[in-house]
Subunit: 381 residues, 2 copies
């Protein structure tokens, strides 16, 4: 186990009817900017619940934080927030709204262009307090301090770090009416978040391995049932809890991490607009095929504990573990090949070029260069 | 899944050499009272590391917080702290030292007798900041807001709640020289903490079940290896992490809890001075035997997932799961029967009398009364 420091201050408020607690959690007298994505929250009742809970506060609404939130949009939100002198932010939406609002929380107290903060690559601790009402389980942004911000103009997409949300409200009932494709992408995103922290080398921590495997087992157990009945409270509660627990640091203590799949996936989103969780379903199986050497021991453990693969040669067991992983993503209704999304060699070359240009080396062993990314993407064709 | 609110602000600092970080974590200029148990920290180097790290601070030492910390001892610590106007507390020790220091943290800001705070049964939020250096993995006190305080005069033992530690430092190397009996009791305590939050009804949360099972599987995997080599860093790190994760709220989200075994165990400690973790090894198997009706479904799940018991009738599988549980405690070198500790009917009657007098009803179904406690203890004879 590596040395580590862990701290996660987020207050997690989970369950039916919990949105009404907003007025107990946000100090009275605050000038609150509420940020939203599209209009789905008006159809599913979340907007009405939020407005009712905040009826005694000064509020200003900012609408239209898009999937893969863009600096272009967020600049407008920051300008509005400064103009209205807001001193509290409430993000109501999925990971994109929350991610975008994290940059707003930093941008409100920064005099320059907020894109500077993204490019600087440093954690920003001078922020306006931010809380969230989560509507889409997927990114874990509601309980971490990370975000991913895009710049449409240049098709770039980078990570950004600021303070954690003060609190996050998770009512599983708000997920009942999500489009099934979004649920599938959320399940995929959650699964791959776990894999990025787990599928490295074995023997680093028994506890962390078991917890990561427990999340994977949970997703495998609930996913087919969710696809049958998305209005089952217990199932959606476990999905929501899994997504939050998959990226809040709880399974990352003292273990190495990969994240190559995410970095390659981000490029697919930046270049083609493909939904984040969907890109991961395409990239992860290919990553495992290319890195089956260095990840072999962990793939065996994963195969045995998560998929109950206990017979066959080492190679056969690794094959089967990867095959089952890809099959899981397909069972969600997602495609798992670039060709199915009409993405070909041109994109692969562009991603290789970008990685080489940046001189990056991703993965727990720092061996995923532009050349390796090309191999992975070719395996995903 | 029940509605829940989760928040755990403790900064966990884990690994080799981390005690040196004390001076980065405690604000300079603080007047620090360091609390200790016995003298073992002088032998294993922890005392020297702590003193070196705090050489630029005003410090005062309080020694002698005993196992099952007593109000009689803690009153002296509070008096010393008030006299020395300390404004920061550092508990260096196991669960007893940390528990006791939690009461000190409240007592320093309270004008009356600190026993009032214990009897009041309310969480105290007006406290002096408290940090810990953990030396014995067991109670989880380093990452929760609970404590158990005894009054020797009347042989009473009650829970107490105050603020969480600001930070806790866990260096697995400090456990290498612990007496094997203390390690055994720590493993037992950790195991039963998990069981109190898990062995209730199934189907409340897939994630929480998997995480609890993951901790149990870890303990079962590492315990025999630890008994062979207590100086294996990876093993002791996983033990330390398990103990902390077993009682910091991470496996308690949205699920019911039992705690009857603990409440009965506390009485055995109060009346006979038996080490806490050891009392649990005696009480838990008997609790499971008596409550096998209401806990039957979960006992089957536990047997299958944790002990790989997959054949036999329902009754046979439940029997086997309980038998394996008791066998686990015995494999730690602990006795699991009251008679082995020369405890008999007189104690059983006294515990029944106390429970009846207090009118308590423990357990997730509130059905563990004095009468049921008697049945459990009779099963433990």
């Amino acid at each position: 186990m590596d040395n580590f420091i862990f701290q996660n201050p987020v207050k997690l408020i989970m369950g039916r009817g919990m949105i009404a607690r907003l007025s107990e959690e946000i100090p009275s007298g605050k000038r609150v900017m509420i940020t939203f994505g599209g209009g789905s929250v008006k159809k599913n009742g979340v907007y009405a619940q939020v407005k009712e809970a905040l009826k005694d506060y000064f509020t200003v609404e900012f609408w239209g934080i898009e999937p893969n939130p863009s600096i272009e949009t967020l600049r407008k939100a920051i300008a509005l927030g400064k103009e209205q002198r807001v001193d509290y932010l409430l993000a109501v939406g999925g990971g994109s709204v929350i991610d975008g609002t994290k940059l707003i929380s930093a941008g409100l107290l920064y005099d320059g262009d907020a894109w500077d903060l993204v490019l600087a690559g440093k954690m920003v601790t001078d922020t306006v307090p931010l809380a969230t009402v989560l509507t889409l389980p997927a990114t874990g942004s509601e309980m971490n301090n990370g975000a991913v911000i895009s710049r449409h103009e240049t098709k770039e997409k980078y990570p950004f770090y600021a303070n954690y949300p003060v609190f996050s409200i998770l009512d599983p009932e708000v997920t009942f009416t999500l489009p099934p494709y979004q649920v599938a992408c959320g399940l995929s995103d959650t699964f791959v978040h776990v894999m990025e922290q787990y599928m490295t080398a074995p023997g680093q921590s028994c506890v962390m391995d078991r917890w990561a495997e427990g999340l994977l087992q949970t997703l495998i157990e609930i996913a087919p049932k969710i696809r049958e009945n998305q209005r089952d409270y217990q199932l959606m509660a476990d999905f929501m809890l899994s997504a939050t627990m998959a990226l809040n640091g709880f399974i990352a203590m003292g273990v190495s991490q990969d994240w190559a799949t995410h970095m390659i996936g981000h490029e697919l989103t930046a270049l083609h607009g493909l939904t984040h969780g969907h890109t991961l379903a395409i990239v992860l199986p290919a990553t495992l095929r290319v890195l089956r050497g260095s990840k072999g021991d962990k793939l065996l453990q994963y195969g045995e504990r998560v998929w109950n693969i206990t017979s066959g040669t080492r190679d056969e067991r690794v094959d089967e573990a990867i095959r089952r992983t890809e099959e899981f993503f397909r069972s969600l209704g997602l495609t798992t090949r670039l060709s199915e999304e009409n993405i070909g060699m041109e994109t692969i070359s562009e991603i290789e070029r970008r990685f080489n240009e940046r001189g990056v080396r991703y993965g727990e062993n720092g061996d995923v260069t532009g050349t390796v990314a090309r191999k992975i993407l070719e395996q995903a064709l």
